[in-house]
């Protein structure tokens, strides 16, 4: 069965520090992979996507993610976080086409001043 796993429920980082949020996937073939961010009371905003090609993808708000087939991972990174980055982050996968997304449980990011 397809699955996406985010091992960290909560992550706390200091403002200005670097960030890495982990995501692992289990699919029969290479899935389409996404990172979304959700602020309280809001819907999901797409940060970046991986379909194929270059394994390092750039997204909005200074985020990037790297697809590593050997580790079945798609970790999200940011070199320097801002207080406004505090939110819930979801990794998601899809088999392609118009398939529904399979989401991880989310990682709650807390920014310390």
């Amino acid at each position: 069965a397809q699955s996406v796993t985010q091992p960290d429920i909560h992550i706390t980082v200091s403002e200005g520090a670097s960030l890495e949020l982990r995501c692992n996937y289990s699919y029969g073939a290479t899935p389409y992979l996404f990172w979304y961010v959700q602020s309280p009371g809001q819907g999901l905003q797409l940060l970046l996507k991986y379909f194929s090609g270059d394994t390092l993808v750039q997204g909005i708000k200074g985020f990037e993610a790297e697809f590593k087939r050997s580790q079945s991972s798609f970790n999200l990174r940011k070199p320097s976080v801002h207080w406004s980055d505090a939110a819930e982050y979801f990794c998601a996968g899809s088999g392609g086409g118009a398939d529904g997304l399979t989401f991880g449980k989310g990682t709650h990011l807390i920014i310390q001043p």
Partner: protein
């Protein structure tokens, strides 16, 4: 409208009542999806519509849940005989084929 629009934003109803949730997708998007977000289960796929094809209902949790998409645009998710475990945020998303999904702000459903 630039984004996916959902209404109502909040809905409170009594157990046993029927509810209808509406989604207005981004113009030109052929695919439309419904998801449910709850504390215990996280984000779950419910159903999707692609063009004029039969919908993929594989994620619907019970036969009390149904959805329609009229004219390839607006969609309605209906929950009959609501139960307390139906309390959740219901999210709608739309996309073009093989493109990322864009989400609305959701409908927060509370069953008393």
């Amino acid at each position: 409208g630039a984004g996916v629009s959902q209404s109502p934003s909040n809905k409170v109803t009594e157990k046993g009542k029927d509810v209808e949730l509406r989604c207005d997708p981004i113009s030109g998007h052929t695919a439309l999806y419904w998801y449910r977000q709850s504390l215990g289960q996280g984000l779950e796929f419910l159903i999707y519509f692609q063009g004029n094809s039969a919908p993929d209902k594989s994620g619907l949790p019970s036969d009390r849940f149904s959805a329609e998409r009229t004219g390839g645009s607006v969609s309605t998710l209906t929950i009959q005989r609501t139960q307390q475990e139906d309390s959740a945020v219901y999210l709608c998303a739309s996309s073009q084929l093989n493109q990322p999904q864009h989400f609305g702000d959701g409908t927060r459903l509370s069953i008393l």
